[in-house]
């Protein structure tokens, strides 16, 4: 019983290692510096989104608006830069957009008491619409070259690492983090234990929005333009990474490292399937199967525990 539980808790790390080993031996292209750098660059955004999503899901909620925030944050950041704002100001605009949308999500969840799924679904539509409306569905281009440097390999990796390090400190080393786990695990007990549950939730959604804003800036930098369409379906990638990483969708259980591993498990899966020339459609189906398997593993583990 104990062994199976241990296995279930660390399955994602074992799976990630196995996946890398298989690809390293089966292909020449995988274990090369350029390919690995590529994998990191491509998945840094998803991983950052998933870090924020982890907080929300641990608290017992979900945030479907992060993909749209990537679009709006990128567009407004790019627009500010095109209008001549200095680089830090442009980045700040992107971050603030995310923070603001996240705060609205949090307020709607706590004050209006609308379920997080609905709140964030509504915001997903609203924010995506806003991104199209602001740009008239056109691309914001003509960005300064210094902006593109933000998403270069080493910097993107460092940003991602910083986000995860901060998230880990927040979750494992601060009262707030413990309150997130407690709220997700048993909201009523958390409230009776004197935890200001509403503040915790508000902060969690705001932080998730902030991560999405950051990811939006990085995506815009990588594309070197503000696309209103950017980030479509990223929310699903983020949720997938979190769930594959072993975090319970019911809240209260999971780890940030699991999420990082989950994001890269999916990222490397994509990479591997590409290296094997598997078609895009088949890749989608493989991802679906992996998600289902991870979620059923979680149910099985819940029963075992």
């Amino acid at each position: 019983m104990k062994a199976t539980r241990w296995l279930a808790s660390y399955a994602i790390f074992a799976a990630l290692v196995a996946e890398c080993l298989v690809l390293a031996f089966a292909t020449d292209a995988f274990f090369t510096e350029s390919n690995l750098a590529n994998v990191v660059r491509q998945n840094a955004f998803t991983a950052i989104l998933a870090a924020g999503m982890s907080l929300v899901i641990l608290s017992g909620g979900i945030d479907l608006s992060v993909g749209s925030v990537v679009g709006l944050s990128g567009v407004l950041c790019a627009d500010a830069l095109v209008r001549g704002a200095p680089l830090p100001a442009g980045v700040a605009v992107g971050l603030l957009v995310g923070l603001a949308v996240g705060a609205i999500n949090g307020l709607a969840v706590t004050k209006l008491r609308v379920p997080p799924f609905i709140v964030s679904l509504a915001m997903m539509l609203l924010v995506r619409g806003a991104a199209y409306k602001y740009t008239n569905a056109r691309t914001v281009s003509g960005l300064p070259s210094s902006f593109a440097a933000l998403s270069q390999g080493a910097l993107a990796a460092a940003t991602m690492a910083a986000v995860f390090a901060l998230a880990w400190v927040l979750l494992m080393r601060t009262p707030f983090g413990r309150h997130v786990y407690a709220t997700g695990g048993n909201p009523e007990a958390a409230w009776l234990a004197g935890i200001r549950v509403h503040r915790v939730l508000l902060a969690v959604y705001a932080l998730c929005g902030l991560c999405a804003g950051l990811a939006g800036v990085l995506v815009a930098s990588r594309l070197n333009a503000g696309y209103p369409k950017a980030g479509e379906f990223y929310e699903l990638d983020a949720v997938t990474a979190v769930v594959v990483g072993g975090t319970s969708l019911f809240g209260g259980r999971g780890s940030i490292w699991g999420t990082l591993a989950g994001a890269f498990f999916i990222g490397i899966l994509n990479n591997g399937l590409n290296l094997f020339h598997v078609e895009t459609y088949d890749q989608l189906m493989v991802k679906g199967v992996v998600l289902l398997a991870a979620a059923s593993l979680d149910r099985w583990r819940t029963k075992a525990a």
């Binding site: 400190v169 080393r173 601060t174 695990g185 048993n186 009523e188 009776l192 935890i195 200001r196 525990a305």
Partner: protein, 493 residues
Amino acid sequence: MSLLCAAGLSKSFPGVRALEGVDFDLRPGEVHALLGENGAGKSTLIKILGGALVPDAGEARLEGEPLPLGDPLAVRRRGINIVYQELTLVGELTAAENIFLGREQGRPLLRRREMARSAQELLDGLGARVATDAPVRTLSVAQQQLVEIARALASELKVLILDEPSATLSGPEVERLFAVLRGLRERGLGVVYISHRLEEIFAIADRVTVLRDGRHVASAPVAGVDRAQLIRWMVGRDLTEEFPPRAPTPGGVVLDVRGLACPPRFTDVSLTVRRGEIVGLAGLVGAGRTSVALALFGALAGVRGEVRLEGRPARFGSPADAIRAGMGYVTEDRRRRGLFRLLSAGANVTICYLRSLARLGMLSPGRERPAAAAAAREFDVRAPAGLAQPAGTLSGGNQQKLLLARLLLRPRRLLILDEPTRGIDVGAKSEIYALMNRLTAQGLGILMISSELPEVLGMSDRVVVMHEGRTAGELSRAQATPDSVMEMATAGP
């Protein structure tokens, strides 16, 4: 001749002998009251008779044929139906749909009109004016109860078991229910009626069976017993539990509650707790004691009345405010309101005062672990795999000790303990009593809610008794006896 007859029923749960060799028999055409204190084994008995629990020993027969115990569906098909205190109707469906739930008529298309008509007939037969086409959540509790009874009648019914049906009913509604039960009695059915209210027993029951501590105490015709006799049967055990001697030196008033109300949970509660004093809050289940605790702790909305903590107004808007003001609360509902099952045992202890353990906003295992370990040691929390093990995997007694340990690390003015020893072993109980004495010696006031009379009498310096949402009266330690508390709890002031 008996309709339903059970012999030698025994049932144990981990750590508790819920029933020990209980006999019970029910005759056709009688209303048989089942009486006993909280935890006497009434629920276990009816769950066995209803097929929801398998007894460890013993058997039950309906009209001489053995009952398939442990198979609720088969038992119901044989004609035994239980109406639980917590109604089991589907709120969004109509009365008619609920009555025929799982037995819908018509395939493949429902014969809605036919079902509505038979439902109406059943309800009319009960003298219930209930619309069959409205969602049952719009009906009153009394009406919903009648729908449950109608549902039982829709199939062949021989025995109807009612679990505290009157707990949520008003006077006239109880009268109507009694009329229905008399009607069923005339039709030759057997009715088992569970209630704490002695006056109801005399009003409706033909015979009464009293359980105490899982054993059968007496069965007798109601005509031959009086109230005092019933109370003696219910509580007449020796107070064998060891309670450490108390030497209270009450100081100034720490908690002063006047006219507190939170309708419909409770309507008029006044009490005081002094420094260094344990005040027992006694009453039957459903009298509103837990709601009073939650209201004092800032956990209920819509509270009226006056509360003062050490002289300062103290109507708290949230538990966080109450805790900050020096109040502590240990819940009776460990699973739902107390424990974080997924967090480690240690984290469960430290959760309330993480901020004071943090340095510059940061927690460190090096500071948190010893604090949790010390509190856990104080309560002898036994975690086989250490305090890092998830709290949900500990035994019930150890979970309870975790919740108490949670309160230890911060000085407090007032502690509200709601059933502090529920579900824990004797050894752990006396540890908790000793701790209560230590805390009051340090000047804390304790308000203790307990449904166990020996505990109330053994630990309280004063006893406040609640009856149906009101404080019915107050008894000094000298005045408080099993009979006086029970009398006040069942009859009011």
